[in-house]
Symmetry: none
Subunit: 124 residues, 2 copies
């Protein structure tokens, strides 16, 4: 199953589905990174609220997306990590080092907005 990517002003919003395979995650990464260039996005939000498990491949992919998006000059925020998922990740020693996180989509958008205001890129 492919994730859906929405565009809201200068932000790309990707919703990760619960049933995504490793190949789907890699496809999402490629699509997001090319999408940043195509849409001149200043921010990317990856919503993982539907994920019950965030394994090492998913964590590495999220870190990768963050780093790639950063190299293109945009910001990435991972939102919607569930408390149970956070617990397992810490137990397994998985981190999202370098990735900004927020509670949900709303907070993620607010975070991007405040950072973009600092950079004065989005013109509002």
């Amino acid at each position: 199953m492919r994730a859906s990517i929405l565009k809201q002003h200068h932000v790309l919003i990707a919703s990760v589905q619960g049933s995504m395979s490793d190949a789907d995650l890699a496809a999402l990464r490629d699509e997001l990174v090319s999408g940043v260039q195509r849409h001149r996005a200043t921010g990317v939000i990856v919503d993982v609220a539907m994920l019950d498990v965030l394994d090492s491949f998913a964590a590495r992919t999220l870190r990768g997306i963050t780093q790639m998006v950063k190299l293109l000059g945009a910001e990435c925020v991972v939102v919607g990590i569930q408390p149970d998922v956070a617990f397992s990740m810490v137990q397994l020693g998985l981190t999202l080092e370098g990735a900004a996180t927020a509670l949900d989509l709303e907070d993620g958008l607010a975070l991007l907005k405040s950072r973009n205001r600092g950079n004065a890129l989005d013109g509002d």
Copy 2:
């Protein structure tokens, strides 16, 4: 004995009692992490001023709380570590790597406030 968790605006404040067992600490961790999501907290303060000893389990739990809370998009500050406790921790090689620390509750709240102002999430 269970720790008390207070909510002050967007900050959860947990007071660790002197007599907490490992199971109590683990329960506190779970309660704090689910509380961050439930109350949309942007910050968590763990006050350990009542602790005479901070052993390896307690230090690991505090590190875990910090990492989990971070994955949910909030910040955690450990406050009130006593000089004697700090001395023993260093002698034992225990660290709170990754956790922000402050002298007391007041300083902890000020620290969270200054960080949240950077992110402009708390709306004041």
